[in-house]
Amino acid sequence: MDISAILVPGLLAVTSVVALGRRVNVYDVLTQGAAEGLGVLVRILPNLVGLLTAVYMLRASGAMDFLARLLAPVLALLGIPPETAPLLFIRPVSGGGALAVGSELIRTHGPDSYIGRVAAVMLGSTETTFYTIAVYFGSAGIHRTRHTVPAALIADLVGFAASAFAVRLLFGG
């Protein structure tokens, strides 16, 4: 049996039993949380419309293939599939853009394909680096960020290479 098959029903059952044991009104909290999820969707929908339009245009024009071919030799060294090149660029800058590029990769190559899985793991294991840096330092009144940007970008790059590595390791290339 597939281990991940037990994850979904297991988590649902265990959390609701534990919650009920602690006298938490599981159902109310669950539906309130689901309503918050709706808020997330409302926030990302306009972004996805704008950015998927641009991403589809880039793909159709041939610009994405050009970028992938340009970077293929460098990415091959790190074990990163060249198809994901556009994702690497937009991930640190825009969360909505990354979701648009990533979901387009997952859709075209298939969610259970090597590239589709690598794109998903990349999205899940990295953050919108520059946005986060701006929010934290902006609100703390810091304008000399010293080594934050290089260290954060190293983490991103390792995250990208590690995503491809982890998918190869756990699913086979």
Binding site: V24, A54, M57, A60, E127, G141, H147, A162, S163
Partner: protein, 193 residues
Amino acid sequence: MAMAWIWCGMVTLSLLFGVLNGTLDAVSAAALEGAQAGVELCVSMAGILCLWTGVMAVMDRCGLTDALARLFRPLLRRLMPQAAGDRETLAALSANISANLLGLGSAATPLGVQAARRMARQARDGTATDELCLLVVLNTASIQLLPTTIAGVRGACGAASPFDIVPAVWLASVLSVTAGVTAARLFARLGRR
């Protein structure tokens, strides 16, 4: 403003490559398709996303966030001894990390910012301290136990089991966070010389 430049760049590049490659017809059709796909994706991932946001809210209410925060305190004392010396900063820091782990982004950011503001009191002339750099690096490297949005996208695209990438996400996250922390500590040591 950054997004304005990115969008403008993407659209202009598409036009340019469309003219150069003679793919303008496809580009024009793709623009309409893309907008449609944005709405379709959102609608088809709505179920998974809302359900798991709900489950995460239940876990949070059960005290999982507090339990995780307690778990991370010893590690934070080692990574940021100066900030951890202040009780309220340590509380905000550990709550920030556990909210990040549960994917409660809207709760994690205010907590992290609160910690950052307290830590910035030690900063001179708006220059980040080593520990402040480390806090921001930790927050730019995502550590999420259940990547619900991505599972939603995969489910919407017809994945056999949308969550089967979870172990791979954990492995990649751990490697990425370790690299970020190591780099930040190394740069801090080099800067002191």
